[in-house]
Each structure stands twice: as C-alpha cells, then as structure tokens.
C-alpha cells in the first residue's frame, strides 16, 4: 500500500523525488516537447530547419477543405461520446438523433445538390444486386446460426445483412457508394427512432447508439471525400479504413488456432505445437516483410508460382472475366503484385498469410489454460456442440485479450507506414495509391521539405486516433 506523505514532511522525504525526476525529464524532453512543437508548427510554413513563418490555418484549409465543418462534426461526435453512456438522457437522445438521421440526410442532400453522390459511368445492376444478395445470404445465415434465438439482440445482428442488401439496391439504382450508404443510414435511422415496437427496449438503446456512430462515420467519410480537402490525405484514410477492417478479420486465424490447440486431447502435442508456433513469432517482423517482398516479385518470387501450381491463377482469371476486374489477371501473365494499381491493396492485405504471428497464439493459449475442466463437463452434459462450447466457454475468457489486441491493432494500423514504405517505396506505390496519412506525413517532411504541412497531417491523425481511443475507453473497458 502506498504510504501517504503529507506536504509538511517533504523536507525529510524530498530525495524520493529524485527517483522519478530523471524519467520525467526524459519524457518531457523527448515526448512532450516534440508533440507540442508539432502542434505549434502545424500553423507554420516550416521547411524543417530555418524557414519558418506563421501562416495560420492555411495548412488545415488545404488538408481539410472547410475546417469549420470538420470542427462542427467533431463537436457533435464529442457530444455523442460524452452523453452516450448516460441512461436515457435528453442530451444523449438529441445527439443520437442528429448523428443518425439529420446529419446523414443533410449530407446526402448537399451532395446530390452539388452533383456528387451519383455513380459515375454505367451501373451494372445485375452485378451489384448479385453481389449484394450474395453478401446478404452469407451474413444472414452465419448470424442466424451463431446467435442464439434467445438472445435479445438477435434482431440487431440480423438487421446488419438487411442493411447491406439495401445499400446494394441503392447502388444498383444509380447512387455511388457514399450516397447509397448515406441514404440507407438515414432511412434506417428514421426507422430505429420511429418504430413503436422498439420503444423502451434495452437493445434498442444500444442499437441507436451504434447507429449514431455509424452515421457520424459516414458523415466524416462524406466530408473527407467532398469537402475540398487534400484528396491524397482522404484517399489515405480510406486505405487505412480498409486495412483496419481486414486486420480485424486477420485476428481470426490466431484465435481459431489457439482454440484448436487448446482442445487437443494430448498434452504432449499441445506443448509441442506451442513450441513450434513460437518459431514464426520470433522471426523479426522486418525479415518476414522482406521475405514476403521477395515472394511478391513477379518473375522470381514464389507467390505467383504457387498460384499457378495450385490452380488458383486459373480461378483468378475466371473471376476476373466474370466480375469484370478489367484484366488484372490474364492468362499467361504473371501479375505484378507490388506494381499494379489494382493489386497493391490486395497484396498489402494478403501479406503475412496465414496471419498467425507475433504473440497472438501464445497469449490466447495462456489465457485459455485457465479454463476449468468442469466447465467442459457441464457443457457436455448439456449436450453442447463444439461451436457452442467455443462461444460460451472459451470466447468470453479470452475476450479481454482479444479486445486489447483489437484496440492496439486498430491504433497501430492507423499509424503504421514503415511496412508500406518498404514494400512500395516512399511514393506509396503506383499513382500513390497507398499513401496512408503516416506516409504522407513522412514524405512531406523528409522528401518535400514541407514540415509544417506534415505536422498538420500528424495533428489530424492524432485527433482521429484520440477519438478511437476515447471510444475504446468508454465502451470496451477491460474488466480485471
């Protein structure tokens, strides 16, 4: 227990401060000072060393387009977070209605008025509807299977596939992605708030909160794409969003593998596999990345050869023709994964297959080891099948760890740019397709010499990450 020492006894205990002060000093100098300096310089035109003059908000104007709009949306977002936890407060409801219905609807109207929001070019109705139907069927059946019928929130889970279906219907009707999502969001928000059967239900409340976040996210997307800001930056955020989504999916193999190893009958094999899984972990990430860079080499690399040998290349050529990818995969041509515009994003997502690595499996295994044998026996008595055992016994116990990893992963993905720089070069690949915000910041400062601009980009990233961390703190709090 910490000993409390009152202020009057300081003169006896002051040497204790010396235990802390070196740390404080170091951190203040090397963490706080640069951060504050960066915020300060984002209002300047700075070339990194001597040229530095104040230009006010010009950097932000160029990056954001209309900073006031952004600040307004962020204010609403802050209000949303602040009031969301409180039960049934009027302020909470106010913010939620604004975020769910009013803002998306307004954005859609503004977009349509300005000529945006409509799909450019011909709309392949059949493909859109087909794809939408496919996603709907898959998600619906999966959710239906996984979620217990007695679960109060089942209707929320089931409405997600319906939402996707509605979006693809709108896309087939001629709206572009953003427009379709905004319209679907507005309509579903109106439904959420007006259907009488939902009033007072606990699940309805959380659904509304979630929906409000969705609405805000969509409005941010709309602002990013159309507020006149730097297209490169918002393209980068879009890429980051895609990466985050896929990284969440990439967490699944580690969890599944850990569970399977855990469920092995023989302890000896359990131990052996545990040791063997350490091997892919301990290869330094940099070496792994460079090995994959070699794999992606179109002529000498292994990836293309494997695809050809296993017949996946033929499958891809077929898909290319069927889905109209425009010749990404042609018969006889080795695709250039790191050089072709359409292929760089898939390459970035695919690298590191099968994505078991860096502490994931071992941590989950360690967590799983604490499960008592009796829980399994009880489950067997109840006649549970393996999937249900997973969902009810194992998943909750490692949920903490999964949440921690997920948050760390999201924050890490938003910041990371070193691996993109190594795989694709400082320009972010062909036509700068993968210029994530971090890379843009690095390039502006260290290649173009626009350090003030770079600091402004950094500041924007900071706000986004801060927002995510806030959400995490409010909603995904870890229970000890």
């Amino acid at each position: 227990m910490p000993k409390t020492i009152e202020s009057r006894k300081i003169k006896y205990y002051w040497p204790l401060y010396l235990f802390v002060l070196p740390s404080v000093f170091l951190v203040a100098l090397l963490s706080y000072y640069p951060a504050i300096n960066a915020m300060y310089h984002s209002f300047y035109r700075w070339n990194g060393e001597d040229i530095s003059y104040f230009i006010g908000a010009v950097n932000f104007n160029r990056l954001l387009g209309r900073p006031l709009l952004w600040m307004a949306v962020f204010a609403i977002f802050a209000g949303l977070i602040g009031t969301a936890r409180k039960e049934n407060s009027a302020a909470g409801r106010f913010f939620q209605i604004i975020s769910s219905i009013i803002l998306p609807g307004l954005s859609l109207v503004v977009l349509l008025f300005n000529g945006a929001g409509i799909a450019a070019g011909k709309v392949n109705m059949g493909a859109e509807l087909g794809l939408g139907l496919l996603i709907f069927l898959i998600m619906f059946s999966v959710f239906n299977f996984i979620v217990d019928s007695e679960n109060e929130r089942k209707w929320i889970y089931l409405s997600i596939p319906v939402f996707f279906l509605v979006v693809s219907v709108f896309k087939a009707l001629g709206l572009d992605s953003l427009g379709a999502w905004l319209l679907a969001c507005t309509l579903s928000g109106a439904a959420l708030w007006s259907l009488p059967s939902l009033d007072g239900r606990e699940s309805a409340r959380s659904a509304r909160v979630l929906h409000a976040f969705l609405g805000t996210g969509l409005v941010l997307w709309a602002l990013g794409a159309h507020a006149g800001g730097d297209r490169v930056l918002w393209g980068g955020f879009y890429v980051t969003a895609v990466l985050v989504a896929f990284n969440v999916v990439k967490m699944v193999p580690s969890i599944v593998t850990a569970v399977v190893i855990h469920r092995l009958k023989s302890e000896r094999w359990n131990y052996i596999y545990k040791v063997m899984f350490v091997v892919p972990m301990i290869i330094p990430g940099m070496v792994y990345l460079l090995i994959w860079k070699f794999f992606f080499n179109p002529n000498e690399g292994i990836f293309n050869r494997i695809l050809v040998r296993t017949g996946c290349m033929d499958l891809l050529v077929l898909l290319d023709r069927a889905l109209g990818w425009g010749g990404l995969f042609k018969e006889g041509v080795m695709p250039v994964w790191l050089g072709h515009e359409g292929l760089v994003l898939p390459a970035l997502i695919l690298w590191g297959f099968p994505w078991v690595g860096v502490v994931g499996v071992l941590i989950y295994l360690a967590g799983l080891q604490n499960i008592d044998q009796s829980a399994y026996e009880a489950a067997d008595l109840d006649g549970a099948n393996p999937l249900q055992k997973f969902l009810y016994i194992e998943l909750p116990l490692i949920m903490n760890q999964v949440k921690i990893n997920m948050v760390l992963m999201i924050i890490g993905t938003m910041q990371a740019y070193a691996h993109i720089m190594i795989l694709f070069g400082i320009d972010g690949g062909p036509n700068g397709k993968l210029m994530v915000p971090g890379l843009l910041m690095f390039r502006s400062a260290f290649q173009e010499g626009r350090a003030g601009y770079a600091c402004a980009v950094g500041l924007i990233m900071f706000f986004f990450i801060l927002a995510l961390t806030e959400i995490n703190n409010k909603y995904l709090k870890v229970e000890k």
Binding site: N47, G48, E49, P298, N299, E300, G311, K330, G332, V333, V336, G339, H340, G425, I426, P430, R443, F446, Q447, E448, G449
Partner: protein, 693 residues
C-alpha cells in the same frame, strides 16, 4: 511436482547460459562500436564522403579505385563512398541536408535541383573558369579553363535560375538497343543488326513467327496429352498427364520506362520539323506558351499528321512488346531480356556492363565431352550417335561437363528424323573462353528424354548493340522522317559540393582529380560508361553508344512536364499504347480533356513568371550593386560576368507577362472558332477573373 522442480532448476542454468551469450554479444557489439568511432576523425584523417545512387556494377569499384589513388597522393585523407538506392535517394538526401549531416559530395539528381542547389550547394563557376591544376603537366590543356575540358563544356550542369554551375560530371549517357545475337540468328537467319526501321520490324516479325511456331508445336503436344487424360483428372489436377508450358519469347522487352525512352526519340524523328515551324521567337525551342499560341491559332492540332504518324509508329512498336508491359518496371524488363525471353531491349549505356555480367552469370549449358565412350568433337558426331542408338533401340550415354564438374547421363532416344524430335536437345558448337569449340546443349525440350535425364541448356548468349533504326525509306513513316536525333547528352553523374562541408577544398580537389583525361578514361573504363572529358575514349564495347552530335531535336509534345496536362495525357496514353484504345479515340479524348488542362497549365506558367519577376529583379540588383561597388578586380570581374546573365534573365521574366498580353490579347478579343479555343477559354476565363487582367 518433482518434475516441475527439475524444470525450474533447468531454467536457471538455461538462463545463465543465455545471459552469458547476451553478455558476449554485447561485448562484441561494444568492440564494433569502438572500431567505428575509431575510424573517424581520430588520427587526424580528413574524411570526404561521396553519395550517389548508381548501384550498377563496376561504377562503385571504379570510384573506389580512383579514391584509393587519390588517398595515395594525399595522405591523411580518406574517401568514403555512400551508395543509396534510387528509391530512397531523394528522401535520404533531403533528410541529411536538413540535419546538416550531409556528405561532402552529393550526386545531383532525383530532387529539385534549382531549390536545393541554391540552398545547399556551392557555386562552382569561379573554380571552373580556371584551369584544372591536375592538368598542369598536359601542355595542351595547361591553360584551358576546367569547364572547357568537358566534351559539352559542362553546359549540362549550368542552372540558369541561379546563374552558376553547381556540379561536375564524370560520364555521359546515351540510349541504344541491345539484342540477343543467338536468338535473332536463330529466328531471323542472321545476327546482323537492323539498319532501318523496316529491317527492325522484319526481325521482330520473324521472332514473333518463330515463337508462334514453337507455341503451335507445344499446343499440339498438349492437345494430344489432353486426349490421354482420364475422367478423374478433371477434378484432380495432379493426375493429369504432363503438359508443356508455353514458350515465352517477345521481340522487344519493354516497361513503362522503356516506352518513355522510345517515345521522345521516334517522335522527334518524325515531328521535329513541325516543332521548329512553331518557334516564333527563333530561339530554337518551342516553349509552352508558343505551343499554346499555335494551338489557339490553329497552326497545329492534335490530329496533325506528323503527330498521328508518331503515334502510329509507337503503336506499331507496341505490337512487339511483351504483354502487360505497362505494369512492370525496367528491372523486370531487363530480367526478361537476360533470361532469353525477349530478343531486344532498349536501355542506356549505364546498363551495358550489368546486362553483360548478368548474362554471363547464366548457366553455360552442358558441354558434351564423350558419347558412348568416344570423344565428341562436333555436334554432328553426337547427332549421328543418337540416330544410330535410336535405330538400335539402345540408350546413349553422354559424359557432360557442367559448372566444372563432370556427369554421366543416359538418354533413350526415340526414332525420329531430327535430334530435336528424337532426344529433345539442340546442340551448337561453342567455344567458351577461347578454347576449342565443343558441342554445347543450347536447348532442351520440356518433357523429352533429355529433360528427364537432367540435361541443362545454355542460357548465355552474345549481346549486340545497335543504334535506333531510322524510318528512312519506310513505306508508311518514311515521308514524315526529318532526321536522326541530336543527342544532348550533357554530362551526367555530376556531383555538387555541399556548402557546409568540412573540407570543401579537398572535395573540389577530388573532383578535379577525377576529371583529368587519364583518370576519367580509367574511371569510365572500369565502370564501363562513357567518359565526359574531351579526349578520353570509351571502351570498345561502348563505341556504338557514342552520342550523335548532329541532328534534330525537340518533339511535338502537347504537355507541360509535371503539370495537369502531363497527368491527363499520361492517363490517356497508357490505354492507347497498351492497345485498349485506338488512335482516333485517343485523339478524341485529347480533344475533350486537354484544352482545359492546357489552360490550367498555361495560367500556372504565366503566374509563375509574374511571381518570379521580383526575384529576378532582386538578383539583378544584387549583381548591379556588386559591380558598381566592387572592392577588387576579381569581384568586379565576377560581377561583370554575372550581371548580363542576370539582366537577361530579369528581362525575360519581366517581358513574359507583356508578351503574354500581346500574344493573347487579340486571341482573347476575337476568339478563334475552334473547339480547342472554346474549351481552352472556358477554363482560362475562370482563372482570368481571379487574376483580373
């Protein structure tokens, strides 16, 4: 429990061993660090650092050799070479310059030369006007200013915006075509390089036909094999009977980069005449504003027949490129050429030595020493032995030499007319390294008995170099042909001296040392590049690379480099050159999209001049003051040299806007009634209102 205890104690011993290893490594690391620091300035050595991005073979060794000679002559000096990869060069240099840790000599390029030189590099004009002290023992060059000892007077490194020279170049570079002599001989019958454009296309066509013929054979074979497949093999791929893989051979290996080498050259050959016609102020170049005027007044259109001819010519070329050439990079194209998958490739003289080395790294092929115990001296002997064996139904035993080791292989030939059909090998009599000619396996048929026996084919070949064939006399393009292109290969591979270097004098001395006739010749001989100093001769292999000093220049290029027009045209050109759109469609899209982009770029152009005029005025005033108030003769002399140039520059910028008004005024009033003009002014008016002319 007891087992656990043992495990615990095992852990601690384990850990101790681990810690011991860690400590050992740390000591090793400390020693390493000490070694690094020790080789620093301790000991009084002055260190000159030199950074460049030339990672090609030979050049690094060449500079090291030169550096060692310099160090021998100047004890107490050490020269450290820092090669950085191309991709990271700009960022690395910028970071080092900002951090003031930059090397003393930096290769100029990859970054904005004007800005960086002005800020970070020393102007060298003064030193260049004096003779090179290292030439003092050469009676001819004793009193010749250093800059005149270069083959182009060092005009390549003069920066007009800064009115001075900022770099000294060691080599020159030109672009030529490389070709695979063996492949071309096999496909076209002779390995003589094509002289004219028809000959080039004829050779390409023959290469195409050759590869098509091979592929037809393979297809036939595969179809026969497919006939032998059972029903199950449709679902289980590994049950299928073996197929042969397609024979890959393209006439010309290409990539985005290679296209950017072909296009200006051949366009220049066809459109340089038109370009000169549009030059209004007779300064020899058609600048962007002259081009815009010509477009507005209708003097030139995108559909100009010379332009169309050059587009068609490029399209003709692209028929012979490898498929998917836009997405690969130049190294992959080079790789294809080296592997024998393409007959020709274009690249610069800087690639010559690395191509040749890579080709010589390829397998030399199995050399047949003995057949069935009897020594084999020509391929005919071997073929005869195979034929006899096929008759008798026996196997042939060969003693082959591969990579210096000898192996025995047994091949069972089939009954057939040619060696290729019976055993699946092709032989040629080749003498590697000047010895006697031996039969060497130059080709092995997949799935043949020879392939099964593990025989390896030869992948090396002879490389030839030839200049771009001229369209003279070509039935279609001949009438647009203006002349060969003058190669403005100013000195490249040039180094600038950083302002805040610790030893600028020493760095400069090294540059002078490297550009004497003898040293420059030696450097380029070792690097296998072309020297930049007058009188230094390139090696024999590179003689075809000697630049053409006479010819035409400039090509009808409707874009401003780096501007919106470049972006738009680039996006339209790629589908065109890859065969997805036709010439008419490309031109039509240009008509739709380029006028607005041209207006944007033109506005930028004029605004640039307007904004920079005060700077030029400032510069002129400085030199005027320096001239008027010069403290000594040397200062006055320097000012008298710079003042006229500064004044000219100032006038150029000052008069740009009035010139723009004079030229554009009548056009803005009475707009020509062309589609171009309409689109152009739609965007231009928007800018003009912002500027309030």
């Amino acid at each position: 429990m007891k087992r656990k205890q043992n495990i615990e104690s095992r852990i601690s011993v384990f850990n101790l061993v681990g810690l011991a290893i860690l400590a050992f490594c740390y000591i090793g690391a400390l020693y390493n660090v000490y070694r690094i620091k020790g080789s620093g300035v301790v000991g009084g050595k002055k260190i000159i650092r030199l950074a460049h991005w030339q990672l090609e073979l030979g050049i690094r060794d060449a500079i090291s050799e030169l550096a060692r000679d310099f160090e021998a002559q100047n004890p107490g000096v050490e020269i450290v070479q820092i090669p950085i990869t191309e991709r990271a060069y700009a960022q690395w240099v910028t970071t080092q310059l900002i951090g003031r840790t930059a090397p003393d000599l930096i290769e100029l390029g990859m970054f904005n030369i004007v800005d960086y030189c002005g800020r970070y590099f020393m102007p060298l004009g003064e030193v260049l006007r004096k003779p090179n002290p290292y030439n003092a023992d050469n009676p001819e060059l004793k009193n010749v200013p250093w800059m005149d000892t270069f083959s182009d007077g060092l005009s390549g490194t003069y920066i007009p915006e800064l009115l001075d020279y900022y770099g000294v170049g060691f080599s020159r570079f030109t672009i030529r075509l490389f070709y695979n002599k063996d492949l071309v001989a096999k496909a076209a019958g002779s390995d003589r390089p094509p002289r004219t454009l028809d000959e080039l296309f004829a050779v390409c066509q023959k290469v195409r036909e050759y590869s098509d013929a091979r592929n037809a054979e393979i297809r036939k074979f595969n179809e026969e094999q497919a006939g032998k497949d059972g029903a199950m093999s449709k679902y289980l791929p590994f049950l299928r009977s073996p197929r042969k893989s397609p024979f890959v051979l393209d006439p010309i290996a290409s990539s985005r980069y290679q296209v950017s080498l072909f296009r200006p050259r051949y366009s220049s050959m066809l459109t340089a005449g038109r370009v000169l016609e549009l030059d209004r102020n007779f300064d020899g170049i058609t600048s962007f504003d002259e081009l815009v005027l010509a477009l507005l007044e209708g003097d030139v259109k995108y559909q100009d027949e010379h332009n169309v001819a050059s587009l068609e010519l490029m399209k003709e070329f692209s028929k012979y490129f490898n498929p998917g050439f836009m997405s690969i990079d130049r190294m992959d194209a080079g790789f294809a050429f080296v592997q024998g998958k393409a007959a020709m490739i274009t690249s610069g003289s800087w690639d010559a030595s690395s191509f040749i080395k890579k080709i010589n790294d390829q397998p030399a092929g199995d050399a047949v020493l003995e057949v069935d115990g009897a020594a084999a001296s020509t391929s005919r002997d071997v073929a005869e032995a195979f034929a006899k064996a096929a008759e008798g139904g026996r196997k042939v035993e060969l003693l082959i030499e591969r990579d210096g080791a000898r192996h025995r292989v047994k091949i069972s030939p089939r009954k057939a007319a040619t060696l290729w059909e019976s055993a699946g090998i092709e032989l040629a009599d080749i003498s590697d390294g000047g010895g006697a000619a031996r039969p060497v396996v130059v080709d092995v048929d997949e799935l043949s008995p020879a392939h099964a026996a593990g025989v390896r084919k030869r992948m090396r070949f002879d490389v030839g170099i030839f200049d771009f064939p001229l369209p003279k006399g070509h039935p279609v393009f001949g009438k647009y042909f203006v002349g060969n292109v003058k190669e403005m290969s100013g000195t490249g591979f040039s180094f600038g001296v950083v302002k805040f270097s610790d030893n600028p004098g020493l760095a400069l001395k090294f540059l002078q040392f490297a550009t004497t006739v003898r040293n420059n010749e030696r450097l380029n001989e070792r690097a296998q590049w072309i020297p930049s100093v007058k009188g230094a001769k390139p090696i024999k292999m590179l003689e075809p690379f000697e630049p053409n000093e006479e010819g035409c220049w400039g090509w009808l290029n409707f874009v401003q480099s780096g501007g919106r027009t470049a972006m738009v045209e680039g996006q339209l050109y790629w589908p065109f050159i890859s065969g997805e759109t036709s010439t008419e469609e490309y031109l039509r899209k240009l008509d739709e999209q380029l006028p607005e982009a041209t207006a944007t770029d033109y506005d930028n152009y004029v605004t640039n001049y307007i904004e920079k005029t005060p700077d030029k005025n400032y510069l002129r005033s400085i030199w005027l003051a320096k001239f008027a108030f010069a403290r000594d003769d040397a200062a006055r002399r320097e000012a008298s040299l710079k003042l006229p140039a500064a004044w000219e520059n100032y006038l150029l910028f000052k008069n740009a806007y009035p010139k723009h008004l004079v030229n554009m005024g009548p056009l803005i009033e009475a707009r020509p009634d062309t589609a171009f003009s309409r689109d152009f002014f739609k965007t231009y008016d928007a800018f003009a209102t912002k500027r309030k002319e």
